[in-house]
Symmetry: C2
Subunit: 83 residues, 2 copies
């Protein structure tokens, strides 16, 4: 398992409810791919959303986001982190 | 105070030690601007680094990063988050 940060663009105007709904949609199916979405952050003004996950691969993250209708524009493994 | 996610590009090959050193450099001076760097994640392969902070403004984050020699390429307020 590794950590991934993925980025979605074009989400201008996203609301707290929409972010929560998208996150819940991911949680509902993430187990099929061994993914877990841990955190998400959104900037409604610029339309960027960041999701932090633990997953077996970037492709697994990609497939879960696609299944929920929220394809990611970038998915980066982040093997280095400071907590 | 608000949360910000900033992004650095061009950090290919960054090591754990370099990430920790950069984070510590920020912690050493962040108080001057009322900023606190909470987390950082790095992908040495693509050279992208994400920093999560609490700060009074994006400009405050910008100035701290500049002072430590690590100017950010993007700084986004992230008023929406899921923890």
């Amino acid at each position: 398992m590794a950590q991934y940060m993925d980025v979605h663009h074009g989400m201008k105007g996203i609301t707290r409810e929409q972010l929560e709904e998208a996150h819940k949609a991911g949680l509902a199916v993430e187990g099929d791919e061994g993914v877990h979405f841990e955190r998400a952050w959104a900037d409604p003004d610029s339309g960027v959303v960041y999701c932090l996950s633990e997953a077996p691969s970037a492709d697994a993250v990609k497939r879960i986001h696609e299944r929920t209708g929220h394809p990611a524009d970038e998915i980066h493994p982040v093997p280095l982190s400071i907590w």
